[in-house]
Amino acid sequence: MKNSSLTLRKVRLGFRNPTVIALFLCFLILLIGNLVSPGFASFGLIVNILVVASFVGLVSGGQFLIILGGGNGLDLSVGRFVTLGAIIGGVVSQKQDSKLILALLAVMVATFLLGLVNGVGVTHFRIPPLVMTMSMSIVIIAIIRFITGGIGVPGASKLLQKIITGKVLGIPGILYIWILFAVFLHYLMNNTTFGVKLMAMGTNDYAARLAGVKVKRLRTLLYGFSGMIAGITGFLYLGYLSSVYNISLGDKFTLISVIAVVVGGTSLGGGKGTYIGVAIGAFLLQLMESFLVTIRIDQSMRQVLFGTILLVIIFMYGREQKMQN
């Protein structure tokens, strides 16, 4: 008797946890989807959805770090960093497997440095993150135009395509990369000084400084990481698409990365959240999108529905947080 009421309490507490809500919604959509259109929850389809989600999930990783770090942190340039990563990757590697490592390094250096510029703008020149990163988006477009000169970009090398889409045990390579990334971030947040400092800074900037955190430096670095993670994702995305057909290719990642972070239970105020939650958030968003496609909701209606559902979720979380306070 006592035991059952305790489990009940645990279940109820679970439903206050955004990650659990998101996970629950995932199952709900899979269930309904499979009823409406049998096969929706099949292994193959789920894997496909996961593949698309993995790119969102990776980009959201950088966004996650920035939002955790507090100070109204936000990176609205990640989408363009994805595009830039794909384009530098294509241009440097020239479809040759031998130049792949070089291309990856070029992507990492370029996007990390540009990300740092975001960080310096935010921390040293006190430009609001929203304004700074939006401006960076415009700068990156100019850089992209300069690199491509308006001509098409070479696509992915064979090896890159194989790494991303080639299957081991029925699971494409990109998902292994995503899992490794998730494990890495989880370790980073739970077992490293970096993680402790980041969370402290996101919770209480002043107290963090007094505890020995170099707040400005750390926050600047975060923008560098976010840019670099998005750049690498773009590079990997190239392997998935095999060619860059459009220079607005990464744009959709910008907002969706923010949404995945929030839906996954990370507080926009900073200092609270887990990457597992973010990953589930990314999956949930992709799942919702596929579901709406499956039940033949057309593009414009889909966006309306998408927006509404998100608003509801965010309101729910907002209320939870207020209640906790």
Binding site: N191, A200, T203, N204, Y206, A207, A211, K214, G271
Partner: protein, 507 residues
């Protein structure tokens, strides 16, 4: 007449029992002290009375009427006002807006806020503190975020008074106040009593009870120990009831002579915001007090030495060598540690686990990049029990701890960095008598082993009993140095006020 009665109240948070079949009753127009060690359930009881926490079991009666479901609004309607331990002002609003929040006077014609009446009312309720605050219309227009913590506390008190309550609860309202402010607070308590208002006062300052309390309720581990009339007990008896059989360390510092001891720290001509040409030295193993009236630059000196506010100095020398203390990390590298008593603003990471709160600074100082939680726990647990911290799990967020236990976590954080020079800034705020004595003892032991301390406290007795020498501050300057025979209250007050008298005489 009993105005508030709680019977058999219990409350648990997961594994932690905050209240266990607690009984409490409050008489009309009495000043009722509620005491007990950190984490014994005082704040929880008050929150239940105020309707912000729902009890798991037990009954609540207000003015003889049972209340089945107390909500914050219900409590307000029944005339209950609370000054919470963790201040809850809105930092972006002005003093006036905070005090008048939700009770703004309206003008007749359009129903807009009557600014003038609002200012007047705010000033009226702050008026009790007119001797310790520069009260005028400009003052109440200041943003709360810019106020020092003692003034924020006063605003919080005025805010509660402005609600014209019949029952008012002060949860450690005097913890951040200095002597003169406490006196003003007592005059409020007396006035409330004379007009029939009942008050519950929580405090760890035992001498307050005998000075102004009518009755005192002692709690231990969520249970009632006893409720007695103040005139029937002594302070020692109260403390004994609080801590049970645990023996209390009673050790005053034998003021030592440091003449022949080496100087570890030497500061010359320190100047900065609110600091004017401060020079002093610190010997190895010495405890140096920074005294004087509140807010005379003592905190700023500590913050400057810890690299948190900019300063200029002719020289700053550690062990005879000039050092750069311009950033906090540099100060930490030289084994300085700073413990603020303002835990909410400068100490605790409230939503983060206790674990992270306590290890952060030692990780940084000892340059450890990664750690294993298990190994860390082995290091932390003995320390936490040594400083008598009660908690559920190390992974619980810091804000699940009682106020005093949160402060202990901050102290633990810095003890873990093995400091050579410890800067204390009212660090014992909110910590119960037993644990405070424990800390004094830890401090003295560490000093015997070679640590040195610079200690600022708003409690003069704390300073006088625990330091070897006190520098008296006034307007950012050192105006006197008390050693040996002169280390007593009379000398301290005289020194703190002396230079003021001279000022007045000149004017």
């Amino acid at each position: 007449m009993v105005v508030c009665k709680a019977t058999g109240v219990s409350k648990r948070y997961g594994e932690v029992v905050a209240l266990d079949n607690m009984n409490f009753s409050l008489q009309e127009s009495e000043i009722h002290y509620l005491v007990g060690v950190n984490g014994c359930g005082k704040s929880t009881l008050c929150k239940i009375i105020a309707g912000v926490v729902a009890p798991d079991a037990g009954e609540l009666e207000i003015e003889g009427v049972p209340v089945s479901l107390m909500s914050p609004n219900e409590a307000k309607r029944r005339g209950i006002a609370v000054v919470y331990q963790e201040l809850s002002l809105i930092p972006q609003l002005s003093i006036e807006e905070n005090i008048m929040l939700g009770i703004e006077p309206r003008e007749k014609s359009l129903g807009l806020v009557d600014r003038k009446a609002s200012t007047e009312t705010a000033l009226h309720y702050l008026g009790y503190f007119k001797n310790v605050l520069p009260l005028d219309e400009e003052y109440v227009k200041q943003t709360v975020a810019d106020l020092p913590i003692d003034e924020q506390q006063i605003v919080e008190i005025a805010k509660a008074l402005a609600r014209k309550p019949k029952i008012i609860i002060f949860d450690e309202a005097t913890a951040s106040l200095h002597k003169q402010q406490v006196d003003a607070f007592f005059s409020i308590l007396r006035e409330l009593k004379s007009v029939g208002v009942s008050t519950i006062v929580i405090s760890h300052k035992m001498e307050e009870i005998t000075e102004i309390g009518d009755r005192v309720t002692i709690m231990r581990s969520g249970k009632l120990v006893n409720t007695v009339a103040v005139k029937d007990v002594t302070g020692d008896q109260v403390i004994h009831m609080m801590v049970g059989d645990k023996e209390l360390l009673e050790r005053k510092r034998a003021h030592m002579d440091f003449k022949d001891v080496e100087t570890v720290f030497q500061v010359n001509g320190l100047t900065g915001k609110r600091i004017r040409d401060v020079s002093f030295h610190l010997k190895k193993g010495e405890i140096l007090g920074l005294g004087g009236l509140q807010g005379q630059g003592q905190t700023e000196v500590l913050l400057a030495l810890f690299g948190s506010i900019p300063f200029e100095a002719q020289s700053v020398e550690l062990g005879g060598k000039p050092v750069d203390l311009s950033t906090t990390v540099k100060a930490m590298d030289h084994s300085l540690a700073y413990i603020s008593g303002d835990r909410k603003k400068a100490g605790v990471f409230s939503e983060r686990p206790i674990f992270e709160n306590i290890i952060i600074s030692s990780l940084i100082k000892f340059n450890r990049k990664v750690f294993s939680r298990k190994r860390m726990n082995e290091e932390i647990l003995p320390l936490l029990s040594q400083i008598r911290t009660t908690f559920g799990k190390l992974s619980d967020p810091a804000n699940s701890l009682s106020g005093g236990n949160q402060q202990k976590i901050v102290i633990g954080r810095w003890l873990m960095t093995k400091p050579a020079i410890l800067l204390l800034d009212d660090s014992m705020k909110g910590i119960d008598v037993g644990a405070t004595k424990e800390f004094y003892d830890i401090m003295h032991t560490l000093c015997d082993a070679g640590m040195s301390v610079i200690w600022h406290s708003s409690e003069d007795l704390e300073l006088l009993n625990n330091t070897d020498r006190v520098l008296v501050f006034d307007s950012g300057q050192i105006v006197d140095e008390l050693v040996g025979e002169r280390l007593n209250e009379v000398e301290l007050y005289r020194a703190a006020l002396d230079s003021r008298k001279k000022h007045i005489a000149v004017e």
